[in-house]
């Protein structure tokens, strides 16, 4: 679905190498986390995916299309970019209009648009607020509307920029579930986030960016357990992962990713079962 081959990007003024020879393949239905401090190259990577930037060397293919041959508009039906701040995105007078804008804009029939809006309303459970002004609903709901308005474009790939920032626990867990459901539908989701528990929960694969380079591409469990990578990038694993790695006898084992997993592991050891079944689904 996504294929980067030695893709680099150098900003025209100043010559800063924002992305340095990145190669990565992401398949259909994969949910991939992207981690790294600001300035590490995460945003440049996502801008290469939606065609806002073209690689200065190397190549970027989305769904078989070389992005350097397509305009942002032509890529929009394939790659949906959801902004961190929904206020930068939503603008219509009602939620329904907001959801209809994208597909109308690219010339779909009113019937087709109505069908897509209805599907999005159901998927995101927005039925009760469809006729409200986007600024009359809460910030977390506006965030969902922001994602839903990309959903109606039916892109194969969703890029979510810090989807849980500014969200309370309740909405964060709604967003967690939503990301998993997008993956189940077969969508590819690129989730750029500093929210380590989110990455631990929804992804099976994460990319770590540092100084414009991709320095790790591995399951989050491996990344969180790699002290060198964590130190170098100033990232902090989820608290439960840190706890598990500091517990007696566990220093050499990969960290737990969830509370349920660590509880099950401690219980099974208490029952005299020395080897932890390392299932990722508990």
């Amino acid at each position: 679905m996504i294929s980067l081959h030695e893709a680099s990007y150098t900003y025209p003024n100043g010559g800063v190498v924002a992305l340095d020879s990145m190669s990565v393949e992401v398949g259909e239905g994969e949910i991939v986390g992207v981690m790294g401090q600001n300035g590490s190259g995460k945003t440049t990577f996502t801008k290469l995916l939606n065609g806002l930037l073209r690689p200065t060397s190397g190549s970027v293919f989305i769904n078989g299309r070389d992005t350097s041959r397509y305009s942002v508009q032509a890529l929009a039906p394939h790659v949906g970019y959801v902004f961190q701040n929904p206020n930068h995105q939503v603008f219509a007078n009602t939620v329904a209009e907001e959801l209809a804008f994208g597909p109308l804009n690219i010339g779909h029939t009113p019937e087709e648009v109505a069908e897509r809006v209805a599907e999005a309303a159901e998927f995101f459970e927005l039925g009760a607020i469809m006729q409200l002004h986007p600024y009359r609903i809460s910030f977390p709901m506006r965030k969902l509307v922001g994602i839903a308005s990309i959903f109606t474009m039916r892109p194969q790939v969703f890029i979510l920029d810090e989807p849980t920032t500014g969200q309370d626990h309740k909405t964060s867990s709604v967003i967690d579930r939503l990301i998993l459901r997008l993956g189940e539908r077969g969508n590819t989701v690129i989730c750029v986030s500093h929210d380590m528990p989110l990455i631990a929960h929804v992804t099976k694969r994460a990319l770590v960016m540092w100084n414009g380079k991709l320095i790790a591409d591995a399951p989050p469990r491996e990344i969180f357990s790699d002290k060198l990578i964590m130190e170098r990038t100033h990232l902090t694993p989820p608290q439960i992962t840190q706890l598990s790695m500091r517990m007696p006898g566990r220093a050499s084992r990969p960290g737990a990713l969830s509370i349920a997993e660590l509880v099950a592991s401690v219980r099974s050891e208490a029952m005299g079962d020395p080897i932890l079944p390392r299932s990722t689904h508990i």
Binding site: Q37, H169, L243, V263
Partner: protein, 285 residues
């Protein structure tokens, strides 16, 4: 500390104009001088409204129905002008970019002093000190918009510190920052509280951080105070918090899952390691 309230809120309710439910609903609250208080709650629970009542933005600039009284370091914010309240309460919001308006960092910090009519000769020392308190010494001539998000937020803090407030209210100050920027803000808040004796109030979602720093946690729900106490008292109420749509630190939820909701639960990683050790030594052989 216990006998020296700096903020006293009595029977305070506030409804925004055109809103059909109160943003604050009969709040009674005392905050003590030098206390570090964290405010938790879902978006819309009333955390921001509470902060805006402290410096008089409510009711002077945001309209609505207000009842009850607020005393902040001897002042009534509903009477004193907002500009003057800035000498008492500094407020920092989640998006520092919205607070930046000047060409250089020093001018950004000077703005508050100019509004207060502070004599020009006093300004350089106060600006230098404010920038030093947030670790931005040497940044005087830098352009605010060219700073990183974390540096901008520190500059926003310096811009209120320069007015020498006794209270700093920060509204989700780190929600737009990367992990490094986040740590810096919480270190500054802790230093201001511990070394400068400032009263610090932070609205924040990250319970793991609050568990480390706060003296007291106030949990707001639908405009009311639903729970309050020390971090240990509040954060170990795993199921009560969960009913309010909030969560406890991961280590606390882990401990409760192992032991059931009985007695004292740890709220930090260090405490949890000790707790596990105690538990192992008590377990029957």
């Amino acid at each position: 500390m216990a006998n020296d309230p700096i903020i006293t809120i009595t029977g305070m309710s506030f409804s925004y104009a055109l809103s059909d439910r109160p943003a604050l609903d009969a709040i009674d609250l005392e905050i003590h001088r030098g206390e570090y208080v964290a405010v938790m709650g879902l978006n819309g629970a009333g955390k921001t409204t509470l902060g805006l009542c402290l410096n008089g933005i409510i009711p002077h600039m945001l309209m609505g129905q207000q009842t009850g009284t607020v005393r902040v370091d001897g002042h009534d914010p509903s009477i004193r002008v907002v500009r003057e309240m800035a000498r008492t309460v500094g407020i920092v919001f989640d998006n520092p970019e919205f607070q930046m308006s000047q060409v250089t960092a020093a001018e950004e910090v000077a703005l508050g002093l100019e509004n207060l009519g502070v004599p020009t000769v006093e300004m350089p020392d106060r600006i230098a000190r404010a920038l030093r308190l947030v670790g931005l010494d040497g940044f005087e001539d830098r352009a605010p918009m060219g700073l990183s998000g974390g540096q901008q937020q520190r500059l926003a803090i310096a811009s209120v510190l320069v007015m020498r407030p006794s209270i700093l209210f920060m509204d989700e100050p780190t929600s737009n920052l990367d992990p490094l920027g986040k740590d810096e803000i919480f270190e500054i808040a802790q230093r201001l509280n511990r070394d400068e004796g400032m009263t610090v109030i932070v609205a924040e979602h990250e319970v793991e951080v609050l568990a480390e720093y706060a003296d007291r946690i106030i949990v707001m729900h639908q405009g009311r105070i639903a729970l309050q106490g020390t971090p240990a008292e509040v954060l170990s109420q795993v199921s009560a918090l969960s009913k309010l749509g909030l969560r406890s630190p991961q280590v606390t939820e882990f401990s409760q899952a192992l032991s059931g909701p009985s007695g004292h639960l740890p709220i930090t990683t260090d405490e949890t390691l000790r707790w596990l050790k105690d538990r192992a030594s008590r377990a029957p052989a």
